[in-house]
Subunit: 197 residues, 2 copies
């Protein structure tokens, strides 16, 4: 039978989470206030504690939700088999995801919230996303951990820069393409050199 009680609970929880995202986008991640969230959903602040054990639990739920969104978008990114083109597509997706919602990026990848650390549960979701990303790259032929680190550094660096400079601009597309070409040339050369003796 339908469990009306827990359905209602989940619905309210989602409502609170939405309100939390609203405040976070408006006031910044650190500017998020339980009192503000409560006002938005028409409750008194302590009432939120029926749905989240603490403010950190709210951040944690936002984190997990962000990871899930990342995964969904990732699954929609079509690959062609052309390594360089796919590399560009993955990078574009990643940086597009980051710039689309800087608050979310900040929470997921910059870990900029004062004392917050994702719970084991949420972290697992995050790991799943990374695994999928790594799978994509392996499909392209990038498996060397050092090369992967290089690529990761390039990706997060570009995203950071993009967000702090002109989020929403499109100069970054050129920059990403250039970066990926640079990276592709590098690993191609290395693979030709035959690093596995």
């Amino acid at each position: 039978m339908r469990d009306r009680k827990s359905e209602r609970h989940a619905r309210t929880r989602a409502e609170i989470l939405d309100a939390a995202w609203e405040t976070a986008r408006a006031e910044g991640l650190a500017g998020l206030t339980l009192r503000d969230v409560a006002r938005r959903v028409g409750m008194q602040p302590p009432s939120l504690y029926s749905y989240f054990a603490s403010k950190d639990a709210v951040y944690d739920a936002m984190f997990a939700q962000g990871c899930r969104e990342f995964l969904e978008g990732q699954a929609r990114t079509a690959l062609t088999g052309d390594a360089l083109a796919d590399l560009k597509a993955v990078a574009r997706y990643f940086i597009g995801f980051c710039t689309e919602n800087p608050t979310r990026y900040q929470l997921l990848f910059q870990r900029t919230v004062p004392g917050f650390e994702p719970s084991a549960e949420s972290f697992a979701v995050s790991e799943e996303g990374l695994k999928a990303l790594r799978g994509m790259l392996a499909g392209i032929g990038v498996t060397d951990p050092e090369a992967l680190d290089l690529l990761t550094a390039l990706g997060t660096g570009l995203a950071d820069q993009q967000i702090s400079n002109d989020p929403g601009g499109d100069r970054w597309i050129r920059l990403i393409d250039e970066a990926m070409e640079m990276y592709f040339a590098h690993i191609s050369k290395r693979m030709k050199a035959g690093d596995a003796p």
Copy 2:
């Protein structure tokens, strides 16, 4: 004549700043508390307001000090004239500076403190550091803004990754070298291609 009054003021101010760095390193940047700083220097919290107008002013002073430290170290980085070697040296200095004191890096480059934005004055010091860095790179032959963005992204990405993975390790030296070789090959190719028609 010696102005004993302002000397004493400056001395106490420096003392407070040191205490602030101590707490920041121990508790994290966001965990810095005026009450904690006051306890460390043997004062009551409100007394700090004779030296700093607000908590943000403390962050601001820390920011400016960090920038000055960056400049000093930068001036000590000797260049040889060999472009690739110099590129590596600059990158190593940058990332060494970042990993040496992650708290300082966080304040200077990640801007992770809740509502803090550096004042115009402190920001000027920061700009001076960037100008010097840009000068170094120009000396090596890197002036193309897009190439510079690419390099910046690579540098901050590597620093971020290094700090969150194994600060103090030395694997990053290899990674930096590899990154700089990759970057150098890229701009060399581009310059040969003759991007200036």
